[in-house]
């Protein structure tokens, strides 16, 4: 009985501690939200107070900010690029992984090691030459950049799909082929349905990467087509003070889609992260 009540007490303390921590974790977002409704002059002078009649700016920051950086265009570009890059990566790398796993030659194992190696190479290594190459090949537009994302995402995607394909028995595919199905039918009707959970993991990890990516879109399409992170950083401008009011409002708008996505797909996201980590 005494152990039980002691346990109960530590549990209550624990919940209180965790709740305090959770509030602390959420507070940065709340500070930004509150400040986004304050006139820009008061954000740096009274960052932690609620707006009062003198400092309240209504939706002004949102209007000015979204005009300045064309936020809704940026949202469109980000959405378009993320959706098609993620679909592209999942499809292309699952096919590549199947080929590399089922065809055993010196070439395929060399290609596999190169792909895995690419995962640890920092982006700065290739950023200059890659952006020049993209420029020469006319890939410097929202459609072309998808090719680049598939190329950069190929390492992780192929690696994860290979890990899973190695674990499924080849006999199923052999049976299908003996029954007269060609490789295309075998892959799309037999193999692909089995890859579903890995495909979700790959899609989640890549969504988080592509949506938030800054340097690749900045260097290749940044002057004409600004994605959300590029647009946000663009608010900094060249010299002079940053319009912090517009900045706060745009930070809020930038966070809304990702938080909504998280609330809807939370289960898959956390599962995807764990699965990705275990295989990585």
């Amino acid at each position: 009985m005494s152990i039980r009540s002691e346990n109960k007490r530590t549990n209550t303390l624990l919940v209180i501690f965790l709740s305090a921590l959770a509030i602390l974790f959420l507070s940065p977002i709340l500070v930004v939200l509150v400040n986004s409704f304050k006139s820009k002059l008061f954000i740096s002078s009274q960052p932690f107070s609620f707006p009062n009649p003198d400092t309240f700016a209504g939706g002004e920051n949102y209007v000015i900010g979204s005009q300045k950086i064309k936020f809704f265009n940026a949202f469109g570009y980000s959405l378009f690029i993320t959706v098609f890059a993620v679909i592209g990566i999942s499809l292309v790398t699952s096919m590549l992984a199947w080929y590399l796993t089922r065809v055993k030659t010196k070439f395929t194992s060399f290609a596999y090691y190169l792909l895995v190696f690419s995962m640890i190479v920092p982006f700065q290594m290739v950023m200059f030459t890659m952006s020049k190459t993209a420029n020469m090949l006319r890939l410097d537009n929202p459609i072309g950049i998808i090719v680049l994302y598939i190329g950069f995402g190929a390492g992780l995607g192929t690696f994860m799909f290979c890990g899973f394909i190695k674990s499924i028995p080849i006999s199923l595919e052999e049976a299908a082929m003996i029954d007269g199905a060609g490789p295309v039918k075998t892959f799309f009707l037999i193999v692909y349905p089995m890859l579903k959970s890995t495909a979700i993991t790959v899609a989640i990890l890549n969504t988080m990467w592509v949506w938030n990516d800054y340097l690749l879109p900045y260097l290749t399409i940044g002057t004409e087509y600004k994605t959300i992170p590029v647009a946000i950083q663009y608010l900094r401008g060249g010299y002079g003070a940053v319009d912090m009011g517009a900045m706060m409002a745009m930070l809020v708008l930038a966070m809304i889609p990702i938080i909504l996505f998280y609330l809807f797909a939370q289960k898959y996201i956390i599962r995807g992260v764990v699965a990705g980590a275990v295989k990585g």
């Binding site: 549990n11 624990l14 501690f17 965790l18 959770a22 974790f25 940065p28 977002i29 500070v31 930004v32 400040n35 960052p47 292309v92 096919m95 590549l96 199947w98 080929y99 089922r102 055993k104 290609a111 640890i120 190479v121 700065q124 290594m125 290739v126 950023m127 200059f128 030459t129 890659m130 020049k132 190459t133 993209a134 090719v147 680049l148 598939i150 190329g151 190929a154 390492g155 192929t158 052999e174 060609g182 490789p183 295309v184 892959f187 988080m208 938030n212 990516d213 800054y214 340097l215 992170p229 946000i232 950083q233 900045m247 930070l251 990702i258 938080i259 998280y262 996201i269 980590a277 275990v278």
Partner: protein, 280 residues
Amino acid sequence: MQKSIQKYFVLFALPGLLCFAIAFLVPMVMGVVLSFFKFSTVTDGTFIGLENYRRIFINDDFTSALWFTVQFTIVSVITINMGAFFLSLLLTREVKGTNLFRTIFFMPNLIGGIVLGWIWQVIINGVLLKSGVTIVSDPKYGFWGLIVLMNWQNIGYMMVIYIAGIQNIPHDLIEAAQIDGAGKLTMLKSVILPSIMPAITICSFLTLTNGFKLFDQNLALTAGDPGKQTEMLALNIFNTFYGRSGFEGVGQAKAVLFTILVAIIALTQLRLTRSKEVEA
């Protein structure tokens, strides 16, 4: 079966390999070659041997960025992993609201680096307001600011991986230890820690490489100010490339060194912690 799949090389393997070649492989090879050239676009180089590598060390901005990056990475790896492990212990104790807490602690991870940098710039400047300074008054503010930011972003992610590790510990192992009279500390040291070595491997790998390659957060939080004193390696390389013309070769040479460094660190770390993993 291998033969018939091989006939479909163009469909299955070529798209992925082509994207990979365009985005990564060709730029990577070009980058290594160009590090021995003086150039301003990728087609106008003159061979200058190791001159670019020598010029890296003419001033000390690269070595000071390296030093800042090393210090930052060590501190952030330790704080993030300890924080995440501590939270994972608390959240596997079956207290009320565990799922809600997990959701909240994980959320900052989805927010992109640029947005994170600006959020924390406002908050840190707000905290420093009383002392009449800003985040770029002294490099130590930038340093600790980045540490806090990275903890906020990454603790939840690593926590999720640690939680999965702890939940995978077989129940009879824990019960056996309890019957043998193991105290809480012994339990932690002799049962929990050895069983979650794979999680420790992957979390320290992720935090280590993330820390070393950090760019977006660094750019948005301080952009390297004051002076170049909070500039990390990735940002230093970026500024060398795009800051002033005539230094593209030096930037590329720095990028090669950076890549070698990251590869060595990543491989050493994997070997070190993998050797401590026990067979389950």
